[in-house]
Symmetry: C2
Subunit: 130 residues, 2 copies
């Protein structure tokens, strides 16, 4: 009743979740990064994630939150003047066992790979460090 979040609170039920929506929601660098933040920490609000990601404008993030929310990847519920975010891990695991873990592990590996090649400018083939 309170708050003006008119369109905001549209979360799909567990059975309404569709894998193409989930995949295309996660198939964006910004959103994937946001999901990784949510996976790593406990509860975040919008700005805390926004600051961790470094860049974007608030209204841009609102857009991404909506995509993640409407695809069933995150919960977003108001608390006080903030909007708390969390992964819908249980729902995703129930519908698509192993998917989220595989994605997060893969994203972590990609990030590591990216860092490695960034710190070894000349040799992308680098066997550097261990």
């Amino acid at each position: 009743m309170s708050r003006y979040f008119g369109t905001m609170s549209r979360h799909p039920e567990r059975d309404q979740i569709r894998i193409e929506s989930v995949l295309s929601a996660l198939g964006s660098p910004v959103r994937l990064a946001a999901v990784r933040v949510l996976d790593a920490g406990g509860e975040h609000n919008c700005t805390s994630v926004l600051e961790l990601l470094g860049i974007t404008a608030k209204s841009t993030m609102t857009h991404h939150w909506r995509v993640l929310r409407e695809s069933g990847v995150i919960w977003q519920h108001p608390s006080g003047r903030e909007n708390l975010l969390s992964l819908r891990r249980d729902d995703l695991d129930a519908r698509y066992p192993g998917l989220l873990d595989a994605v997060l592990a893969g994203a972590a590996e990609d990030a590591a790979l990216e860092n490695a090649s960034a710190s070894a400018p000349a040799g992308p083939r680098g066997r550097s460090r261990t």
Copy 2:
């Protein structure tokens, strides 16, 4: 050398594959369906999949093949006058263990769910038949 597939044969190396590209490639109904066909059968050419999917124009499929190819999801190599398609299962499994299986299983479940609700027009909750 042969064939005129100028831009065609751009496949990323295994290490070049990025998970966001894979996810956004799979996050489209048409492409996900195409991948499911490739997973089910052996080797297909473009039109065979196109016909199985029922609908689209050839040039549209060419577009989707390119997205799948450039994201590292499929191999596409010319043989005679056809263009044979196959899943890059080994590469994907190597880079993102469990991902492809989770996606395919999820897609299958989604499809089953969709069929169930389609064949039970009145009652989506339907325990109908068996």
